[in-house]
Symmetry: D3
Subunit: 223 residues, 6 copies
């Protein structure tokens, strides 16, 4: 088995820049309600936001050897998406890796495990999304996979897919669909802005979303 | 079955205003240690506080249709108490509902599920207490109940009951007991203030709470 | 059984002062990757940090009588380490105990249960680490143990052992090893500072940590 | 506050006998998909089944005093429904209470906490549904409530309401609705039996439940 | 988007028959320690075992419409692998679906949610692996995906991949690797049988697995 | 640091034999309600019972090297008490270790992680208590500790302490207290047997345990 694959097509830089304006929840809706990463993977500090193509990493429990390898081959703008099999006791990322990642222009880290040195990470403005914080250490003794398709937070993530995350959560968008999802997101944002204007003017969501008809068809009984 | 009941008696506005000065923990103690909502339902941002009569909503998993209906009939000052059966994958409340709710003067949202657009919610100062944040979407396809008595966060909540919440957690006070609980809360706050003066002056809680006698009766053995 | 033992040897004040400069994650590594307290025990506010010798307390579920006793005999600088058997429904510590503890110079509270009055606690700058916040009350009816060796957060904690905690988590260092661990921590901090300089200058962690050799020995296959 | 209320109307014995033939899942459906107790409350042994009117008990965490009181006033056929606030460390029920309950003709125990002496309980054929097993002890020091309306396992349970449980889970049926729910359950069982005959003969659930129309209306696209 | 894809290549029937002799743990090891489904997905009764090609289904939370569709197109021997997004409150599979599935020769069900009618399922000998049992109902109102690649229990599952499960857990083997994994499994079983003979004769695992050398190289210090 | 310490004093074989007659819950009560291991550590099959002196093992997450070492030095009757830091993904014990352990007369395994080959383990009648079952593998690359004092399942366990476990859970008894606890257990069993006779004859637990007085002193109000 080849452990480290070459990155292939990835979502374009121009598109990534455009997605940075969009909330994750909007992107999720625009993607047809597909691609929600497990909401238990949260930003380490509330302001953390992440947006970029996935560089996928698959590690053995308690072992971050492949993360070091991945940082060394990351391209500017990459988002590291690291499966460490939900191990929340091992702080698999800390200040040293943050320093190396910032130096290389890595756009952020998303991990289904734990991290440490969270204060330093926040000070450097490096966005991290994790299941937990933990002082626990890792060993560097086992191989894993890089740039393979992986299951991450209940979704399939392929290298080059777009990762978008903010306080509400994380979304993965398949690279082939990114352009379409972007346009649908912008449409949605515009529609929502108009909706909110009307709501502020006193309309109800029942009227604006056609829900009165739904309620009536379902046979709503009111006192 | 009648899905939507008329609101009946609710805790008075004057009393609600008075309760706004009180910490939730004090109210809980003054209520005879009854009414603690499951502590896993947390404020979405630390400063969020909520106080007002409950407008209860019972939804199907993954479906927020009845929340839209509830917002449309809410009265100013109401606190939406939404049971969506502990579904933490569906962001059942977002910026559109916040906008509609703020417009109608809704006092806050308390939900045993997930919400999204949390940043916008915080910016508008609308208090939300939830189990989780999630980008997940909901459908609008199933009826539920409004203004029925419900089980919420391990407590019975009836429409019109008082909901009080802050960083420490949420408490429900039956409307009939609210006046009594208010007076007991004020008494308790006064007693605690005096206790704290004495503690600052050097007394121990053992002396002030009569715990030396308890320890002695229980047969404490010290080296 | 003797419920309350006298504190015996504890880690020295001078050493405690020195440890205050160190991150918990560094201390954990320097201690040979031993002593990690369950990461689910978290600071109540992000800035909370704790450092000092343990005064151990073992309580019955839902009962904080022994905490009151412990505060009354605490010495300045002590860190209360309270096992209440993972009870996350009872707010076993609140503003009254904070007031008493601050007056006596207690250095902080670490508890495997819940606390309340968290806002007041933060305002007074008293560091608290807990599993949860809860408005729930406790009774004061059962004896427990003070200054006994206890199991706490998956680690053995003996009275006088050093407790170090920050946003990343909590670590216990046996008092006999504290001096050694301090020196190893300082070494580690220095080495890490140098590493980070080199990383900022463009080196990779593979080069600096000798991981290229590891990868090669393990038979890494790259595309 | 009156701690112990008199039992008022309860679901009739005749109806209870009839419900004993019905699976809990059928009753839940027939009840309009209302009344599901938290599925984490499970039978202690797979064959345990329970059916009867609720005698409700509300206890302090770690304290089973009110359970003893409840057993002493239980009537034959009663099902004890005990809220101990999700405390899963205290074995709040054991062989002594089983012995007392069997002697009085109690029909079973349903508790949102833990029990012990599970082997003896199974040998006596006494049905118990709990969140956990635990050797942990309880104290007998605090009052609670008996025959009050309580929140239990995410549902409101009132004294006299019908409790039905088997391996699939527990359902509460309001006493006023029990007759109606029974008839709907029998209808449902009959319809399902016919459905299953047709399925065995080769029909699909799509045909029998009219789902082909649903799929087509929703716009299903097949390759 | 095409909701229902045609099944493409699947692991051969001959190979499936051979895998039925093998424990899941052996298959996992032989697969290079890849493919472990989340261990929280457990057999509904201890004797349940499953082996066959995956027919993948992706459902909306609380909605089992697509499961009905999937059963209607299943081929004999297929294992239904159903993602319902970890919804453990909705009993998404019951006796009716079991009856339909058995009639069509479906080999089993694997679901990251809940099922009901578990007793009937066991009586029919139909193997089910789920996260939970629940009486909860589902609606039939939303489309999902069939025979798409999905993330299931922390692993990627593609239609036609081999699913192997027993009391120890579930494993997914990519169809292209199944032949190789089978041979490695048989080798492993043979080696283990020999190991166990030697162990029964008194050898230690240290000797047989070469672990004395490992311990010595790592610098083991013994008293 | 010395990784492997010599076993020192252990609870005597005669006493172990006597304890085999006692339920874990009785032992826990007789021990003064101290020593309850986390109830989430459960027997792998319901009939599993364990009783014997602890041989303690502390492993790195995902690494079972020290378990192999421990089995090789175990004495007949020892109970392996293995902390693998709550790692429930790695099946750290399987049929090979069971075979080796049975050959050496090991009395059972207690682990705060996962095991595999559970069917073979049950067939050989070897008692195992674990948090989970998992097919997951472990590496054999890191040293740990043997016969050190450890924290296990929220309790301190020292080598030679008595471990008693059955379906209700696990208890650790310090070796120095074992004789006293045994006598108190026998007393308790006798008292309970008499209590149960009286209960069967119609007495209530209120009468027999003096709880009527307690209720009256606490001010019970009955309708």
């Amino acid at each position: 088995m080849t452990h480290v694959l070459k990155p292939k097509e990835r979502v374009s830089k121009e598109l990534v820049e455009k997605f940075k304006e969009l909330p994750a929840a909007t992107v999720y809706e625009a993607a047809g309600q597909l691609g929600m990463i497990d909401p238990a993977i949260r930003p380490v500090y509330p302001e953390a936001k992440v947006c970029g193509p996935a560089l996928t990493v698959f590690c053995h429990v308690g072992d971050n050897l492949m993360i070091h390898k991945a940082v060394s081959i990351a391209q500017p703008g990459d988002v590291l998406v690291v499966s460490i099999r939900n191990d929340t006791r091992s702080g698999a990322w800390g200040e040293i890796l943050t320093t190396a990642a910032v130096q290389r222009g890595v756009a952020g880290l998303v991990i289904d495990g734990a991290v440490r040195d969270s204060e330093a990470t926040q000070e450097r403005g490096f966005p991290v999304f994790s299941r937990a914080l933990a002082v626990g250490a890792t060993v560097k003794k086992s191989l894993g996979l890089i740039n393979h398709e992986i299951s991450f937070g209940d979704e399939v993530v392929r290298p080059g897919d777009l990762i978008v995350g903010d306080r509400d959560g994380l979304v993965v968008v398949p690279k082939e669909r990114a352009e379409t999802v972007y346009r649908a997101s912008v449409d949605r944002e515009e529609k929502e802005a108009k909706l909110m204007e009307k709501l502020t003017a006193g309309s109800t969501t029942l009227e604006l979303l056609g829900l009165e008809k739904t309620l009536s068809e379902l046979g709503l009984v009111e006192e």
